[in-house]
Symmetry: C2
Subunit: 230 residues, 2 copies
DNA sequence: TCAAAAGTGTTCTGTTTACACCCATGG
DNA sequence: CCATGGGTGTAAACAGAACACTTTTGA
């Protein structure tokens, strides 16, 4: 901490920007908004806002995400603080990036449309303003690391899902094809899934078993971590 | 980014606090300073300072660390941004924590003494001001993760070191005893060490071979990462 | 001569990988 | 009746874990 006094030090604006991940139709997506204000009006950017005097960063991130999606109890984590001096052309601003995982089916679609926001597959996302591309890159790397060390899926999938959906989620996060049998053996070895007596016949004639997460065991595994390595 | 204008938003002080790790006599240590100013005069804290208008966070962290240790080319990484509203009783302040790895033998001892700073073994460190204990905790967890996924030691050990020193370093980071033979086999499988024709006879009568890192292969492994798992 | 640290390989066990066929059903 | 996606097991290769004795030499 300081060896000078607080009074003659520089105060700076703090932005919070959110990388919001969702999963839909077998692909990992991010939520972007089209800016309706200067600078960079009309360009795509992450959802963000400024930190207020009376809240901490987590609270700011939750508030900002709620304003856009209407969702409150979702998974969010602080990612990194970006501080390049000229990162924002208008004023010196630090931005603390957060990433969030949400179930696309749960969000408030109207809210999102009112913000002229849109979901983009990772490989089809447009160029973003400022240093937002870097933020997204870092968030993807973090998500990948997380997927390899802890269970993931509860936050991104609907309450009931098929084994194939879960595999596709992992494939799109890790960005590689996985072997069906090895994936199932591995995921079952963690004991975090419950197979229901229901089938989903949307994708196949035979129908695929639906699963849910055993939330107790899931949370245990989140705490202790594991080595996915597949 | 903002959906309001920049002008009526809150500006906030940004501190940068550094968790400085060193390794000496078989134990992992951190560098702490005794505060000679209010608030919390006389208590132990991390080394820190405030971000200036014309620098980014990495630059601030480097500057602050140089002021204390006289070292410039060391390993530093941003850890996390702490933002509890009342974390600093004097003013609303965000603190961006950085952690650094340095070779204890290389630093400027006088500089450190002039700052009334001192090295503490992790288990003997005093209570720290504000949220600095939390910062240290998080830094240790990060260092642990790093040691399991990338080579570590170049930054913390002297240029020549024994296999036993390297093992002790891992043991003190991972906080558990490792099997001597398994450790050597594993570390050799990475091909990042060069055995010299010199021996160190400080610790034993027989003398232990000295090693250096093959910096090229070391850096390759830093980039690609590995799975230590031992 | 003995105490203290250094050096060195093998076996066993568990995990990861690669791989192919039958099933159910709607169109 | 056949195209489409769903479900299932095993063997080979590899990586991790456990483990004990000999060497050197200064005191």
């Amino acid at each position: 901490m300081p060896s000078n006094i607080y009074s003659n030090t520089d105060k700076i604006l703090i932005a919070v920007d959110c990388i919001i991940f969702g999963f839909d139709k077998g692909a990992l997506k991010i939520l972007l908004i089209k800016r309706d204000f200067e600078p960079e009006l009309g360009k795509w950017s992450l959802m963000g806002g400024f930190l207020k005097e009376e809240e901490n960063l987590d609270e700011a991130a939750i508030r900002i995400l709620y304003d856009l999606t209407g969702l409150r109890t979702i998974y969010m984590e602080q990612l990194y603080t970006f501080s390049k001096v000229d990162r924002d052309p208008v004023a010196r601003t630090l931005s603390v990036a957060y990433y969030a995982l949400i179930d696309i089916a749960m969000h408030d679609k109207e809210l999102i449309q009112n913000h002229s926001a849109q979901w983009f597959s990772l490989d089809k996302a447009p160029d973003l303003i400022f240093d937002h591309n870097k933020m997204v890159e870092k968030a993807i790397a973090r998500l990948k690391r997380r997927a390899l060390s802890k269970p993931i899926g509860f936050e991104l999938l609907p309450p009931k899902f098929t084994m194939r959906q879960l595999q596709k989620l992992y494939e799109s996060i890790l960005n590689k094809k996985l072997d069906k049998r090895n994936f199932i053996n591995k995921i079952n070895s963690f004991g975090i899934l419950v197979r229901l007596d229901e089938k989903d016949t949307n994708a196949s004639k035979k129908g695929a078993y639906l699963y849910t997460f055993d939330k107790v065991k899931y949370d245990e595994k989140v705490l202790e971590g594991f080595n996915f390595k597949i």
